[in-house]
């Protein structure tokens, strides 16, 4: 269950607290830019971790905007090299098979620098949850396009817009990974508006539950706006996300885990007392 705390302001008699800031968040300002989608889904992700409450949590973060997840996740976190967070997480998981293991990677790290690693993990079926934060650009270095960029996206390295003839096509990683027998669960989410956030949380919960049951590899592609990298205002970014990305890559469960049809590959993980 979500850790609860007393409301900051005394409630009216008879009223109850229905919404509050999760305790696990450190007392820092958000490290992400205005309008960045990472903030919203880092919150739902941590809430779900708290809900399932694994006894042990270990994870890795790629070099990129997503590395701040290191501060957010309530467990032992290791900074990995760019493109290598997945392999590093696999090493951690081999050493700690009883820990809930999570790896965070951006689209630059996963789809450009280290594509082979996620495919090998999917083939292995290791009990690791991987979160891809996909905004189509290398946000940390100024918004150059990645292999996760939507067709037409204008960036410093695709000033006329990304086009297939010149830059190749977007790598449909979620669809690819869903094909592997070792993959227990694949979902795609977006957190650009409250309704999506609500449904995203349910998809994240399903992935985490599969990992807790020892089902094997789970994967969530999180489509995210990057107003800074896209050179758009936060509002324009959301519009762009809806019109140019979500129409082709909708929020959905691409592969659901069914315990009866596919029994867990590994021992279940213990919960914290």
């Amino acid at each position: 269950m979500t850790t609860t705390q007393e409301p900051l302001r005394a409630l009216e008699p008879g009223a109850k607290s229905v919404f509050h800031r999760p305790d696990v968040f450190v007392e820092e300002n958000t490290p992400w830019c205005v309008g960045c989608g990472y903030g919203a889904w880092s919150r739902v992700l941590v809430e779900e971790l708290e809900r399932l409450n694994p006894a042990k949590i270990a994870g890795t973060v790629d070099v990129a905007c997503l590395e701040y997840m290191r501060e957010v996740v309530p467990g032992d976190m290791l900074q990995a090299l760019h493109g290598r967070a997945v392999s590093t997480a696999r090493g951690l998981q081999l050493a700690n098979p009883d820990a809930f293991t999570i790896a965070f990677q951006g689209d630059g790290g996963m789809l450009n620098e280290g594509l082979n690693e996620i495919i090998h993990l999917a083939a292995s079926g290791q009990n690791v949850c991987v979160i891809l934060g996909n905004n189509g650009v290398l946000g940390d270095t100024g918004g150059q396009f990645t292999m996760g960029a939507a067709e037409g996206l204008k960036t410093p390295t695709s000033p006329e817009g990304r086009n297939e003839a010149e830059h190749g096509s977007r790598i449909p990683i979620a669809e690819m990974l869903a094909m592997f027998p070792g993959t227990a669960f694949v979902g795609r989410i977006s957190t650009h508006d409250p309704a999506y956030i609500y449904r995203s949380q349910k998809i994240i919960r399903k992935a985490f539950e599969a990992n807790m049951a020892g089902a094997g590899f789970t994967f969530i592609e999180c489509l995210t706006t990057c107003p800074t990298g896209w050179r758009l205002s936060p509002v324009e970014s959301i519009k762009y996300q809806e019109e140019h990305i979500l129409d082709k890559y909708p929020q959905e469960i691409l592969k659901d885990w069914n315990e009866e049809a596919r029994p867990p590959l590994h021992a279940p993980l213990a919960k914290r007392d």
């Binding site: 820092e28 290191r70 951690l92």
Partner: protein
């Protein structure tokens, strides 16, 4: 610690006749190594196969085989971060593929052991990877300790000790073998090692939530001040001496605190000495004995640690004899010898790169030439 019971569970005899690479794996298993990362590349494939055969006798050792060297390096990083013993084996390009990960591993001060079997383009001896191992094992300021065994027994002993040293110094340790040692088969003995003075790994990422979360393992790495350091307050003193700078100096001091080792043969009264390591040193030994029997005052310095380099021994010897560095490359260790010597004029070089090895006759000719040049130069100064 992970090493206490492995000797009891091993079914292999304490003394065995076996190929050096397999003997090194046996030694690693007995040292409590739990993950062996290697991609098939000659002569390393035998090591993986032997590892898999022996794993059932060593509880905790994993039969997991990484898909590639690139992934091996990073799996090793994650596995070592959890405080467990891990090894990697390869040669040439395979070693280059973990170069990037080694920067992270050494920056985060994680213990691991590497087995290196440098070879030339074909399948033959090479010492051409001396510089990359001792000078720049990755990007950044980091160093790994490099131990160079001359034969199978020493390879076994140094492997056993390497895991201890890796934990003690929280650093990577490389066993610098070569392709010839990779093909060598000898009788070896496995001896236990007392590790009771090793501290607990209170930095290990085990995921345990009953204590404070551990998040800072790689944060002081030599990448310097990143946005993340700044945001998380790790680098709170930018402008003076930052956290990463302090940390880099501390690691530098750690590297310096490792005592170099060298084997000195017939050095006391020598007028000239060969300087060589690994299999090349072993090739020189019988020639040396023959020359000694014939009354020639030649000796040999064999660095056992290539990093840190036994500079003091070289420096002392260079004041009283001529030194001839013999290597299977175009001249790499000779740079360290010249830096250490009192005068670089006292140092000569004989190299056989590209897969060639010096024959006994060549070695004899080179040592005699060195001796005569020592005698002529001492006559010149007299």
């Amino acid at each position: 610690m992970t090493t206490s019971t492995t000797e009891e569970t091993a079914v292999a005899a304490e003394t065995m006749f076996m190929p050096a690479p397999q003997a090194m794996v046996e030694s690693a298993l007995r040292a409590g190594c739990q993950l062996f990362c290697a991609y098939p590349i000659t002569p390393v494939e035998d090591m993986t196969e032997y590892w898999l055969k022996r794993v059932p006798d060593f509880p905790g050792a994993l039969s997991f085989i990484p898909e590639s060297e690139l992934e091996s390096g990073n799996m090793m990083y994650g596995f070592a971060a959890a405080g467990k013993r891990v090894a990697f084996a390869s040669t040439r390009a395979g070693m280059s593929l973990i170069h990037e990960a080694m920067g992270m591993i050494m920056g985060a001060e994680l213990p691991c052991v590497l087995f290196n079997f440098p070879r030339a383009g074909g399948l033959s001896i090479s010492q051409a990877d001396y510089n990359v191992a001792t000078k720049a094992p990755s990007h950044g300021d980091e160093k790994m300790f490099v131990l160079a065994p001359m034969g199978t027994q020493e390879a076994v002993d140094l492997t056993r000790e390497a895991f201890y040293l890796a934990d003690k110094f929280r650093n990577a340790v490389m066993i610098m073998a070569d392709y010839t040692l990779g093909l060598t088969m000898e009788v070896v003995e496995f001896k236990p090692l007392d590790e009771s003075d090793l501290p607990e790994k209170d930095w290990a990422l085990t995921g345990d939530r009953t204590r404070e979360a551990r998040r800072s393992l790689a944060m002081a790495a030599s990448g310097g001040v990143t946005a993340a350091n700044m945001a998380t307050g790790v680098d709170e003193t930018v402008g003076t001496i930052s956290g990463p700078e302090k940390s880099a100096w501390r690691r530098h001091a750690k590297y310096q605190s490792f005592e170099p080792r060298a084997e000195l043969t017939h050095l006391d009264d020598a007028e000239a000495a060969g300087v060589a390591y690994g299999t090349v040193a072993r090739m020189i030994l019988p020639v040396l004995e023959r020359l000694r029997e014939a009354g020639h005052r030649v000796g040999m310095i064999r660095p056992i640690t290539l990093y840190p380099f036994p500079s003091d021994v070289i420096n002392e010897a260079s004041g009283r004899m001529r030194l001839g560095v013999i290597e299977c490359n175009t001249g790499q260790m000779v740079d360290d010898v010249r830096l250490a010597a009192q005068s670089s004029a006292a140092v000569e070089f004989y190299g056989r790169p590209g897969g060639a090895a010096p024959s006994p006759d060549e070695i004899e000719g080179e040592l005699l030439r060195l001796l005569s040049s020592a005698n002529s130069s001492s006559e010149g100064t007299a």
